[in-house]
């Protein structure tokens, strides 16, 4: 028998072991994945690395004087400041290092998590969804090789980032940023990234669609962030201990340099990854754990109309974002009362607030939260407004546009869903924030104020939709550039407050023109103008789409 197999054997692929090995071919797949990501991963890693270096350099410029740093401590030592940054312990010794750990770590954890989730989904679920995995799995590749290779690539990317940060930061020669602290700072990133990669290893097993798999993992990141925000503002920080982002922030990097919270991350990552491997054996290739059910043999009346059809395609994502934003509003609302209690005794802050127009502490914190909520809604709006592009490139637009449906109506139906959907999201977030905010402060008048404040951002969402449709109509291949809007709004609205960006940078974001309710007064002019700009952009985009070729493969 040995001779028989020897003569008929095809040349074995390098690195592939004998049958029965569920990890066979992993090494080849790792190299293959790295080859596919040879541009994407370096861009991610360098952007995160250089962004951190630039921030650290910025601190040195802006806060050279210890008095300036003391001023930052005062701003940060507020519920809004803590919710946006990290635990208060960092404030005790606010040097450049602890500033970095305090202000950047939570924010960077979200980005590193995003990178890791996308790596895992791209190399597992997307491969299966496109049937490429089937082709690869028919060769000498083990059952677990795809997931193992994806996890290896994610771990590798995170470790490279960790080492770059460690040596890059310590090499800058900034006071308080030493090598031992920087090593921990780097590995904080790696630890949280690996945890979320492992979380994605589970979500990739649950649903059959890569969009759903990424969405669920991103929701976990969102929950982790909101938990740590609530915990850091709250009196005892217990909630933060439920969040991996809270764990790495509690290494108190550059302050105490505690390494042991990273063990929690490691344990959770191993647990999640193992669960991912186990779950993957409980399902078929290409299928999710959640079985696809049979559906209706005939279409409902609503489905025959363009808007009803578009709504059907957007439904899942809209429900997901709606639930997430409502919960986010409830979470932030519940700490609104704490915010009030914490700060009302501090006379300086009371005076400062009087100067800017008599807003209460709760109100100024609320307007801060509104920006964050709106950025999440903007993310939804961009995804929804770019849906026609996804339909076009996947070839699903072609049969539709070969019917009596005009191009304008087709795109218009998606835009209508994006605009009304985005507005509904703001309403849900406002309701959640309003209900729990009014309850925690005991000020029932706050409810309507908060709902109104959220809805005031609707015109900014519509402008974002307009920007996306202009790209879609005139520069379809560059459609993804519409993501600039939420990214820019996030950087300016979030970091801008810490890094003190000039006003004109704020004005470039559509969100920058919305009156900061409830702290500021309502003025209708910018809202009307934003609405008009949105209408003009949508018109322009539709005109472009009417004039161009449909892209087909």
């Amino acid at each position: 028998m040995t001779t028989a197999t020897a003569t008929t054997q095809a040349p074995a692929p390098a690195g592939a072991a004998a049958g029965g090995n569920t990890l066979a071919g992993t090494r080849t797949l790792i190299r293959f994945n790295l080859r596919r990501d040879r541009v994407r991963l370096p861009v991610w890693i360098l952007a995160l690395f250089l962004g951190t270096l630039a921030t650290a350099g910025n601190y040195k410029e802006l806060y050279a004087d210890p008095k300036d740093r003391a001023g930052v401590v005062e701003t940060m030592d507020s519920p809004a400041g803590l919710a946006m940054s990290g635990p208060r312990h960092y404030l005790d010794d606010y040097n450049f290092g602890s500033m970095l750990g305090h202000q950047m770590l939570g924010f960077m954890a979200v980005l590193v998590g995003l990178m890791s989730v996308l790596i895992i989904t791209r190399h597992t679920r997307t491969e299966e969804e496109t049937n490429r995995a089937e082709l690869v799995r028919s060769t000498v590749v083990g059952r677990h090789a795809h997931l193992a290779a994806a996890l290896c690539v994610a771990v590798l990317a995170n470790l490279v980032l960790a080492l770059l940060l460690a040596f890059g930061l310590s090499g800058m020669g900034i006071d308080g940023i030493d090598l031992s602290g920087s090593l921990l700072y780097g590995f904080d990133h790696a630890a949280v990234g690996i945890v979320f990669a492992a979380v994605a290893a589970i979500t990739a097993q649950i649903t059959a669609h890569s969009r759903g798999a990424s969405g669920m993992a991103l929701a976990v990141i969102g929950v982790a962030y909101v938990l740590r925000a609530a915990g850091d503002v709250g009196s005892n920080g217990a909630l933060s201990w439920l969040s991996p982002i809270g764990w790495v922030q509690r290494t108190y990097v550059y302050v105490d340099n505690r390494w042991w919270p990273l063990l929690l991350c490691l344990a959770l990552a191993v647990l999640c990854a193992a669960a991912g491997f186990v779950l993957s054996t409980r399902r078929d290739v290409g299928a999710g754990l959640r079985a696809t059910r049979l559906g209706r043999p005939v279409a409902s009346d609503a489905l025959g109309r363009p808007f009803g059809f578009a709504l059907r395609l957007h439904r899942g994502m809209l429900i997901g974002f709606g639930a997430g934003l409502f919960l986010m509003g409830v979470m932030y609302g519940s700490i609104l009362g704490d915010a009030e209690d914490m700060l009302q005794d501090i006379d300086e802050i009371q005076e400062a607030l009087q100067e800017i127009g008599g807003a209460t502490i709760a109100e100024s914190f609320a307007s801060m939260v509104m920006v964050i909520i709106t950025v999440v809604a903007v993310v939804y709006v961009v995804m929804a407004a770019l849906r026609p592009r996804a339909e076009e490139t996947s070839g699903r637009a072609e049969p539709l546009l070969a019917t009596g449906l005009s191009r304008t109506r087709w795109v218009g139906s998606h835009l209508a869903v994006a605009m009304t959907g985005g507005t509904v999201l703001l309403l849900l977030a406002g309701l959640g924030f309003g209900i729990s905010g009014a309850a925690s402060t005991g000020d029932s008048g706050l409810f309507l104020k908060l709902v109104g404040a959220a809805l005031a951002y609707a015109p900014a969402l519509w402008v974002t939709v307009g920007v996306a449709v202009v790209f879609f109509g005139w520069f379809p291949r560059a459609s993804a550039a519409a993501w600039i809007v939420p990214v820019y709004a996030f950087v300016v609205g979030y970091l801008g407050q810490i890094l003190q960006f000039p006003d004109w940078m704020n004005n470039l974001s559509p969100l920058g023109h919305v009156p900061q309710l409830p702290a500021a007064d309502l003025s209708w002019t910018p809202l009307v103008l934003l609405t008009l700009i949105a209408a003009a952009l949508v018109w322009l985009g539709l005109e472009g789409f009417r004039r161009r070729d449909l892209e087909t493969n």
């Binding site: 696809t292 546009l401 005009s406």
Partner: protein, 322 residues
């Protein structure tokens, strides 16, 4: 007869590739028109221009007397389209997708829809993600044929269908033709076009290289004759239009140009015919006439228009006949 589709001098480029290079196409009302050519010849691009999904760089096109770009939506109410590669919405069932496409076209004939689903043996309750390629194709075919469209644009509609379903498809197309519908059927499956099409246009590198009824086309090409004669057939080589004569103990085999068939058979009778087989050129041979040079460039021996290509593929089809 009126023209359902008239296209003249159509040009379309994608960057540096010229997908259509002066294409002319005429499809008469009520006919099934075969649109033949290999992958990448420009079949799908032509159909997408006819649908107003792509805008031609130059040339004119008319569908049912209208301009496909300017009047796209109005035209689409009168036509139905089946793409070669059907993508469905993962979270919609096949039945929902059929209804959606039919309604957007202007209404669904429920009885006809259900009958077609039955005939094509399609499960309308499955979600789009769960369908195989063949079943996705069936969804598009049912959606197109359940409509009352007067013009059907079918772009390689049966790719992925099994032979049984292929037969059902042919029946349905015959019925459509009987109902007076016009069909443009793009394909590279020659047997299918041979069965269904009244007229055929062969496209190559974005141009129509030949167009006409199958009879007309066959006239332009060579028929292969195989005969057994009482006395050995000689002197055939001297006749005009006869090629590749091979004799073997009372058997003779040769190819003859369409217009010279009569003379060749007359000559054969002089030797006393015992048996006679004639093979009309298959579409394969028609295609090979136009694509022969490409094949030979790729290292295949047939082609070059010297008849050797025809001789070779006839030998292959002989095997199938016996």
């Amino acid at each position: 007869m009126t023209q359902a589709i008239t296209v003249s001098g159509l040009h379309k480029s994608f960057g540096k590739t010229h997908a259509l290079d002066g294409l002319d196409l005429n499809v008469e009302t009520g006919e099934v028109h075969g649109f033949l050519g290999p992958n990448g010849a420009g079949k799908s691009t032509t159909i997408r221009v006819l649908l107003g999904l792509l805008r031609a760089d130059a040339g004119t096109a008319q569908l049912l007397g209208r301009d496909p770009w300017a009047d796209a939506v109005e035209l689409h109410r009168h036509l139905a389209y089946v793409p070669g590669d059907v993508e469905l919405w993962p979270n919609l069932t096949g039945g929902e997708a059929i209804d959606l496409l039919s309604r957007l076209r202007g209404g669904v004939n429920r009885q006809r829809r259900d009958e077609l689903i039955e005939r094509f043996d399609l499960d309308p309750t499955k979600k789009g993600r769960a369908y195989s390629k063949g079943n996705r194709q069936k969804v598009a075919i049912v959606a197109a044929l359940a409509s009352d469209a007067e013009l059907l644009l079918l772009d390689e509609p049966t790719a992925g269908l099994d032979p049984l379903m292929e037969v059902v498809f042919q029946d349905v197309i015959f019925e459509a033709k009987a109902a007076g519908k016009t069909v443009l059927l793009s394909s590279h499956i020659l047997a299918q076009v041979e069965k269904l099409a009244d007229r055929v246009s062969i496209i190559r590198l974005g141009k129509i290289v030949q167009s006409g009824t199958l009879g007309e086309m066959r006239h332009l090409t060579r028929t292969t004759i195989e005969a057994e004669t009482e006395t050995p057939a000689t002197g055939l080589e001297e006749l005009p239009g006869i090629h590749d004569v091979r004799t073997d103990e009372g058997r003779v085999r040769f190819a003859v140009d369409g217009g010279r068939l009569d003379g060749a058979v007359r000559k054969l009778t002089e030797f006393g015919i015992r048996s006679l087989i004639s093979h009309p050129p298959t579409l394969e041979e028609l295609m090979l006439r136009h694509y022969g040079d490409e094949l030979s460039a790729n290292g295949h021996s047939n082609g070059n228009d010297d008849g050797s290509g025809i001789g070779k593929s006839t030998a292959a089809s002989d095997g199938a006949v016996r």
